[in-house]
Symmetry: D2
Amino acid sequence: MTHKIAILGASGYTGAELVRLIASHPNMEIKALTASRKAGQSMAQVFPFLRHLDLPELVTIEEVDFSEIDLCFCALPHATSQAVIRELPKDLKIVDLSADFRLRDPAEYTKWYGGVHDALELQAEAVYGLTEFYRDDIRGARLVAGTGCNAATGQYALRPLIADRVIALDDIIINLITGVSGAGRSLKENLLHAELSEGAHGYAVGGTHRHLGEFDQEFSAIAGEPVRVQFTPHLIPANRGILGTVYVKGSPEAVYKSLAQAYENEPFMIMLPFGETPSTRHVRGSNFCHVGVTGDRIEGRAIVMVALDNLTKGSSGQALQNANLMLGEDETAGLMMAPVFP
Amino acid sequence: MTHKIAILGASGYTGAELVRLIASHPNMEIKALTASRKAGQSMAQVFPFLRHLDLPELVTIEEVDFSEIDLCFCALPHATSQAVIRELPKDLKIVDLSADFRLRDPAEYTKWYGGVHDALELQAEAVYGLTEFYRDDIRGARLVAGTGCNAATGQYALRPLIADRVIALDDIIINLITGVSGAGRSLKENLLHAELSEGAHGYAVGGTHRHLGEFDQEFSAIAGEPVRVQFTPHLIPANRGILGTVYVKGSPEAVYKSLAQAYENEPFMIMLPFGETPSTRHVRGSNFCHVGVTGDRIEGRAIVMVALDNLTKGSSGQALQNANLMLGEDETAGLMMAPVFP
Amino acid sequence: MTHKIAILGASGYTGAELVRLIASHPNMEIKALTASRKAGQSMAQVFPFLRHLDLPELVTIEEVDFSEIDLCFCALPHATSQAVIRELPKDLKIVDLSADFRLRDPAEYTKWYGGVHDALELQAEAVYGLTEFYRDDIRGARLVAGTGCNAATGQYALRPLIADRVIALDDIIINLITGVSGAGRSLKENLLHAELSEGAHGYAVGGTHRHLGEFDQEFSAIAGEPVRVQFTPHLIPANRGILGTVYVKGSPEAVYKSLAQAYENEPFMIMLPFGETPSTRHVRGSNFCHVGVTGDRIEGRAIVMVALDNLTKGSSGQALQNANLMLGEDETAGLMMAPVFP
Amino acid sequence: MTHKIAILGASGYTGAELVRLIASHPNMEIKALTASRKAGQSMAQVFPFLRHLDLPELVTIEEVDFSEIDLCFCALPHATSQAVIRELPKDLKIVDLSADFRLRDPAEYTKWYGGVHDALELQAEAVYGLTEFYRDDIRGARLVAGTGCNAATGQYALRPLIADRVIALDDIIINLITGVSGAGRSLKENLLHAELSEGAHGYAVGGTHRHLGEFDQEFSAIAGEPVRVQFTPHLIPANRGILGTVYVKGSPEAVYKSLAQAYENEPFMIMLPFGETPSTRHVRGSNFCHVGVTGDRIEGRAIVMVALDNLTKGSSGQALQNANLMLGEDETAGLMMAPVFP
């Protein structure tokens, strides 16, 4: 059976990545693609790399006949997303890639994203989309909230460790290096090739990055007490990829064991041998996530490193993984392609 | 039916690219991987991006039991390749990615590659592997000689034009920009990131690049008279991709028509609308080839631009396309993945 | 004696490059910096790499007291530039970096840039700023029109050859590879790091690039007859650098001799030994220009390759070289810094 | 007065960077350049970006007449350096860029670099070359040991904080992102453009990087008690630049004040306003070092970020700064060039 798919916000990178992935999916067909400002254009115009595909033209959301859609991906900006989803049919399966339904507490939403959440009834229904940890809920969900790409990276390093109580909870640092596609197709000076290439800088330093809302929510829920981590992202000249370097206090062996057990049967989570560390280049374009653990020369300290592709495992691949579950497909359908190297 | 595959020379980029592609092939199984200096290592050690796959360990060629192999890819250096293939079973299907069996005239081989060709009986048997133009021969071949990646690019621009006599034969310039993976995994100062990034240079300027041997052979055969082109490759900081900018004298409309007809039913050859030009970024990691034609302000001159991924359409993807034909598989099996962008 | 300098349009790359160069000039002092939208900001805010310098705040052009300025660099967009310069004091020395005063024929200006030229009396006065060929005129000029960066590159390859009549005039191809800073600080999708990195594409293919106006004017004037060249620029992931690969018909030895003679005593023009070719990486950040000549395997054809830094020798360095002449300074003052490699 | 300079090991990046800098120095002249394997070649062959300079040919160390040299830079590998320097005239001023004379305790040298130190009498004489903190000693020194580039970065962030006791000493994390030129011109697969570009990875994770020896020595000396930090370097696709992100426990305001006071009168140390963070792109090719401090949302924690160019401020620029002091020149001579951006 072929599932009919709509992608709202197909002119951005996560929308295009969804098209790329679904094009190789055995049981999905793209029936509608929307883009507000680029409606009327073909995907070949907006993304010439998809030129070989036979795709529907970009239309406005209003033009979509949702009665023929089985599942809808929303790759819209936050705030826009909730306004759009509120108007969609109430029985339509939806995977949202925005931040709008990630935070269960409306006050937290306002704190990190500004504005008042306007679709609280949907929020109540939404399941947090970190597949490996919410798999059963996602299977039965109608609305799944894709996680932030940085938020996913940090959680892959830390959730099992907090759950297993093998690290101190008051002294966790998530240092992160990210490629530029996570910033989207937005036109900003510091995203120009001339300004981004050949260097590195930190941003949202000092506990101000929005994905901290997800860390706070999830880690506190696991711990059963408030957990606050430090989080510093850095931007480098790479299109795809996030490398999380997470500093924790605990026995490196216990840390390794906790993660290895958690990911033992996960199709996309790859534990490296103890002492080896990952590279974003080795997961590029794929849905795989590499996890490495090393000890430090200072006893009782460990470093967990996680590498994933922010557009795939960090957002659109994760979204498809969730959609597979929601539609009763094999979770890995369309997602087993190897990384592209070099 | 699952075909059993061996890859000789699996520690180089074209070998690894073959593994990447075959991993998604519905009817192929990798039974043997060889690497002389790295024998005994796992592919995960040599190419950690393949870590998620269950692959045979790297062995020496001598250790391979070829009786259980249906088809063998040779991704070895030229000269080595002929020496190895000469010793392989005479009924084994082989796709060679080296230069050893591309040139039908042994004198030409010596001219461009030095040394004497030592397997002339195999040369007589070999079919030139530019799939779109040798498809029928490849289907029945035992030994197929993969083309040079630059040679493929230039031929996609020019073969139909020469065959259709729509351009002057004595004034053809193939200007080419190539990414660095075409140089292989060789350790040279000018391939270091610090020396290659942030700039461009020409190499083998002035009619000295070895792929000229293929241009001479093929273009002259099509024309029925000696054809000599100018060819200048340039190296830029990109891992994958070749952009050919080919200057010809002829009617731009006739040039466009000739190419459009030639590629009308080709699954991987994509003609852009007249006046549009391709980008290597739009074919990265895929087996697609984009072809564009523009006229010049000077009447009677046209510019043909061709973009392909040197590791995929330019070598390993082409090799798999040919292997599909040789094994009676669908020509596109395992090769329809979309490019990776951004 | 210290010359007092104003830079109009200091928030763009050529403006910032002027500041970088003048900061090391022994006899220049920056008295005024303007930027329309960013007036009121400090240069440290707009270009943090200049943070160590003690610079005047950005102001509007109206706020500048030109009576205290000895020489003014205009790094404004074309059309804006002529409107601004028309209002400046008539005895103020000006080096304009825009396209507004490069083309002597107003019809040509309209053809390539659109709109009507509105300052024809200034055009009549302006000297074309390719220093090596207009040195004497520049020395006495009040208004110098900086050349296009691509136009400079092509002319360095071809002017002596046309003057010396060593090449055919009806069959010249300027193939050019350029870094991205030439496109300026403009916010366009295709200049984003995610879209520009890792690939190459041609643009303004087919004789439509504006710098052709300069080629037509200059080459025809030298030849004493209309000369029309082919010109195809390509954009690659590098911040700085232009590599011109120029295909000509003529004796390679005569071509080499003509260029070697022309540049024999030029402080910034470096001839490579015959048969060697340049790299943009070897002139990065400097005012030097490397020129190489090779023959082709086809007799009577030569390839001239020219590498320069578009922001330095191609615009702001050239501008300073001209300003030095206009102010009676040593032509090389502030410009002898070595390239930055790697 | 012009000082006569020799550079031993001129075929590596730090050697070439010394030549670049000295070429603009008002009072230095390069009299000898050595390179063991490349002796007999010209610098133009080894580093074509220096082609415009009139430089002595590369020779072996044995061929140098040290009697005519005022100061010698040693840019040789560690272990080689001590063997060479031992044989040089005992009154020759030397700035060593290797690791050989950085560690005062021979046991520490053996621990981090292996092998036994063979020139302990020279070690006793050597002054540690972090100019801002050893200025007076350097002025009178005969042998100065240039610091590690990572070691310099971490110390710029931490020395004043440890001296002023404004941070906890047992919980310091130096997270570092570095460009690739720090690895030198060595031929390794992971330094190839194809393997390094488009991603990030950590290396020497877990307290195994050799520059920890310098951190241990210097921080413990300042504190008067053993201090052990965590240090994780990451490699990214940039040629130049180190970005240190240093996590400390202490009042952010006190941290800022301590650093601002320490660097108040330093010509190359630039404090950013509180809350702003630096980028390596803004110091590229220069001797400047940008320092930023932010608080975290968790009280009592601060993040210090330091950006410098590893080849300039991190090694060859530092070396020249020290040489200036040793020769009685202005400390900033030849070093005030602005960074190159973009």
